[in-house]
């Protein structure tokens, strides 16, 4: 009797199974087949003709939602009558999400991404090249932004903005102190620091992205050939060692462990007005221009021998998904929201640093923006290679170790060795 019941139970179970998963294998294959056939058809139809959006196109757009994205989407909808749904996905989450959502058909048509993810995204086959608007993109944008959106010779991105970091200065605290060199910063901080009540002259974010600028200032680099050759690692060359030794000397004015100097702690002090100089990124422009004290940005001062740190910079670009059902509409949209006019609007609305060139007259004139524009001139675009993942992995502990007193040369050699092994090993 029980067996019978077991059988019946099983029948019930199977009904669930079949309704839940039965159709899957077949339908999946069908979908991909269709998609391939569709895109093939379009390809021959479009050819070199004008890029016209597919009839009935609707776009899904992943970006960090802000005043600018709302504005741009509205303008686009007005002009082309194509509906765009905006979803709030951070630039550094989009690749991971696209790898799963893209193939299953729920991903974005156009998504934003910082350039350090580009190599990985191309390797995973997530982005379509910027083919139709290639010339436009190349003519309006800074070369470094175009390069950062290019991988292995093919331009993929539609650059929106560039970002780097500089020295935010609380003018109420610094007053008219001279801040041309790091010696000035050190001198000021020594006078200003009050460890008991947690007042400090200068602080930085302790990630490799920020600290490496001291190494690049003396000629250090991550990858050779302008960050494109992963077989040439420069984190332990002569310049890097020199920069690292200089960085170590800053411990005089920052008398604690890097682990304790968290971003939260630093930003807290800065916003309370207990930190005079804050080395942080341009993405904080919007927030920091609203603080109750006067804020300016100056490029990082010169180190001994007159060499200024070269900050690492990145580019935020938009990309068209390979899974987009409406690639033409998506390309139109990506190009539209990164046009020169839109970049000016972006700067005006939320203070992004435009990737476009030759629009200096139309952008914000405040001291923060001007400071960053100067800083971006002496910056170095960080690599779009997938091998970049090893940089933080080996350099973060290296900075930590040197700060805690380890030998500079030996530590950097070890980090370089680790990076080489990982890149070679794959």
């Amino acid at each position: 009797m029980t067996k019978k019941l077991g059988l019946l139970t099983l029948c019930m179970m199977l009904i669930f199974v079949l309704s839940a998963c039965g159709g899957k294998p077949g339908s999946g294959a069908e979908n991909s087949g269709n998609a391939a056939a569709d895109s093939g058809g379009e390809a021959t139809a479009e050819g070199t003709e004008e890029l016209t959006p597919e009839p009935g196109a609707e776009l899904t757009f992943w970006t960090i939602k802000d005043g600018f994205s709302d504005y741009a989407v509205q303008e686009f909808e007005k002009k082309y009558n194509i509906k765009v749904t905006v979803e709030d996905v951070a630039y550094w989450d989009s690749v991971a999400r696209m790898t799963t959502d893209g193939p299953s058909g729920t991903g974005a048509d156009v998504f934003g991404m910082t350039n350090d993810f580009l190599g990985g995204a191309v390797n995973a086959g997530l982005v379509l090249p910027n083919d139709y608007f290639e010339e436009d993109t190349k003519t309006i944008n800074r070369k470094l932004a175009v390069d950062a959106s290019t991988y292995e010779g093919i331009l993929y991105g539609y650059p929106r903005s560039v970002y780097t970091y500089g020295l935010y200065v609380n003018k109420d605290l610094v007053k008219d102190a001279k801040l041309d060199t790091w010696d000035d910063v050190i001198a000021f901080s020594k006078k200003f620091n009050d460890v008991k009540s947690n007042k400090y002259g200068f602080m930085f974010d302790s990630g490799s992205f920020y600290l490496f600028s001291f190494l690049t200032g003396y000629g250090g680099y991550i990858f050779g050939s302008n960050e494109t050759d992963p077989t040439d690692i420069g984190v332990n060359n002569e310049g890097s060692v020199k920069g690292m030794t200089f960085l170590k000397s800053l411990k005089d004015i920052l008398p604690f462990k890097l682990t304790d100097m968290t971003r939260d702690a630093k930003n807290g002090l800065w916003e309370q007005g207990k930190l005079a100089m804050n080395m942080d990124g341009s993405w904080e422009i919007g927030k920091y221009s609203k603080l109750p004290f006067q804020v300016a940005v100056i490029p990082l001062p010169a180190m001994p021998e007159g060499k200024a740190p070269v900050t690492l910079a990145g580019t935020t670009s938009y990309y068209v998904s390979t899974y987009s059902k409406y690639p033409n509409a998506a390309k139109l949209f990506a190009n539209f929201i990164t046009s020169k006019d839109m970049q000016i609007k972006d700067n005006e609305l939320i203070g992004s640093i435009p990737a476009a060139e030759g629009i200096d007259d139309s952008i914000r004139k405040d001291e923060i923006m001007q400071g960053f524009l100067k800083q971006i001139e002496s910056s170095r675009m960080w690599s779009s290679l997938p091998e970049m993942q090893y940089f933080g992995q080996y350099m973060d502990p290296a900075f930590d170790a040197v700060w805690n007193g380890a030998d500079v040369k030996a530590t950097l050699d070890k980090a370089a060795e680790g990076m080489k092994t990982s890149i070679g090993m794959k």
Binding site: K4, D131, T259
Partner: protein, 448 residues
């Protein structure tokens, strides 16, 4: 039902029913039941049979091909005129998951097939004995009346098969591939690599050093985290319940507070509280004239801080449970001990402790297991820091599960993460099974 029973004329008893029924069921699932005049059930099974054959013909070859090759055509871009187009190829991971589902469905169908044969045989035998087989309605009402729990249990069972067992098998399979960020589908195909990932993780010096160190720390951490939380709770419970304590409920409430705040929040707060430079703990120590402690920046201290914070968050639960057990210990045992002149510590050691341990032992083991996998506190409090240049993608305080997370989510080394996942799975299941087997309830059922 009445109609059916009256209408059907029952044949003479014969010895051949069971063999015929079983044979018919072997030929096609459900035929045996139909022969046994269980028509509805028979046709239902027959429908499954047809579906099974259909799947076996249409999907199974593809599924097996997919499982063996993991796809053959690569996705690539093709330039047509000025525009690039994506030409879709095989997506190894999707192929793997889809074929697994197909194979699973096939396995369930095969089981059903075998069960059908057995059922036909048994019903045939009943008929030989002159018993009339149940009609479908009778079966249904019998099931609804007496086997309701089985039906309800079938739903979670199904969930276990398709949402627990299948993902685990998928994870295990990934460990034998070269699935990393460099070979991310759909642009790349994934290949079977055999034991390559195991070899690299356990043999290559850079990786094995990290693996063994992190494993060792994971067990040390789980041990201390469990012991401190448990005995802390024990001590608090004894104190709260001891004679002469007034406002008991107040003390209980006060001690449960750390548990009442979501762990997520309190851990993040602790992270700031223990900041070596800006955190209040060191500020207070400074006021007392005690040197600052490197709570989170020194490897050993960071480990101690982890255990401390975990103690603070976990002792209230143990305390509550132990208070509950304490109230079940019969008073007369203590009275008898008093008459014999036992001291307080003797009573605790010889009466209270064994009684509590008797009930708590399985829970302690489960807590140990949970601590091996205690992702939240490590990830939120230290995030594996302080950094360790000798480790591969792990810091001094990373335990296996946080390392696995970093490897997969941050580094895209999915195959290595799977190997670690298998390792954790084995360790945890050994503990879980051992624990279930030694609990009283399980033994009782075995005995009966």
């Amino acid at each position: 039902m009445q109609q059916l029973a009256i209408g059907s004329k029952y044949p003479e008893p014969s010895k051949k029913f069971r063999k015929k029924a079983a044979l018919l069921s072997v030929i096609a699932m459900g035929l045996g039941q139909i022969y046994n005049r269980q028509y509805v059930k028979g046709f239902l099974l027959l429908a499954f049979y047809v579906y099974g054959i259909f799947t076996a013909v249409t999907s199974l070859p593809h599924a097996l091909w997919a499982l063996i090759t993991l796809g053959e055509t690569e996705t690539h871009l093709q330039k047509v005129g000025r525009l690039y187009k994506q030409v879709m190829g095989d997506h190894s991971i999707f192929l793997m998951v889809e074929s697994l589902i197909t194979v699973f469905i096939m396995l369930v169908l095969i089981w059903l097939y075998i069960a059908g044969i057995k059922d036909a045989y048994r019903t045939g035998k009943l008929r030989e004995e002159g018993v009339r087989p149940n009609t479908f309605k009778q079966t249904l009402s019998f099931v609804a009346a007496y086997r309701f729990p089985h039906i309800v249990l079938a739903i979670p069972l199904l969930g276990v098969v398709f949402f627990t067992v299948m993902p685990i098998i998928f994870m295990i399979l990934v460990a034998f591939t070269d699935f990393t960020r460099e070979t991310m589908p759909p642009a790349h195909l994934i290949n079977w690599e055999g034991l390559q990932a195991f070899k690299e993780l356990l043999r290559t010096k850079a990786w094995s050093h990290t693996f063994y160190s992190v494993t060792l720390w994971t067990f040390i951490w789980a041990f201390f985290a469990t012991i401190t939380g448990y005995f802390g709770g024990f001590a608090a419970a004894l104190l709260v319940q001891s004679k002469g304590i007034r406002f008991r409920s107040f003390w209980r409430t006060a001690f449960i507070l750390p548990f009442a705040i979501p762990m997520f929040v309190s851990t993040l707060i602790m992270r700031n509280i223990f900041n070596g430079q800006f955190g209040p703990v060191n500020q207070y120590l400074g006021m007392l004239g005690i040197a600052k402690a490197p709570w989170l920046s020194d490897p050993l201290w960071a480990k101690i801080t982890l255990i401390l914070v975990n103690f603070w968050l976990s002792f209230p639960v143990s305390m509550l449970m132990i208070i509950g057990i304490l109230s079940t210990i019969p008073r007369d045992m203590y009275e008898a001990a008093d008459i014999d002149g036992a001291s307080g510590s003797q009573k605790t050691r010889l009466i209270t402790f064994p009684m509590v341990m008797y009930s708590m032992a399985p829970l302690i083991i489960m807590q140990f297991v949970a601590n091996i996998n205690n992702f939240n506190i490590v990830y939120l409090l230290t995030n594996g820091k302080p950094l360790n240049g000798d480790f591969q993608f792990a810091g001094h305080t990373d335990i296996l599960i946080t390392w696995l997370f970093k490897l997969s989510m941050e580094q895209g080394k999915y195959n290595y993460a799977s190997v670690i996942g298998i390792f954790i799975f084995i360790v945890l299941s050994v503990f879980a099974i051992w624990n279930v087997r030694r609990t009283k309830a399980f033994k009782e059922e075995d005995a009966s």
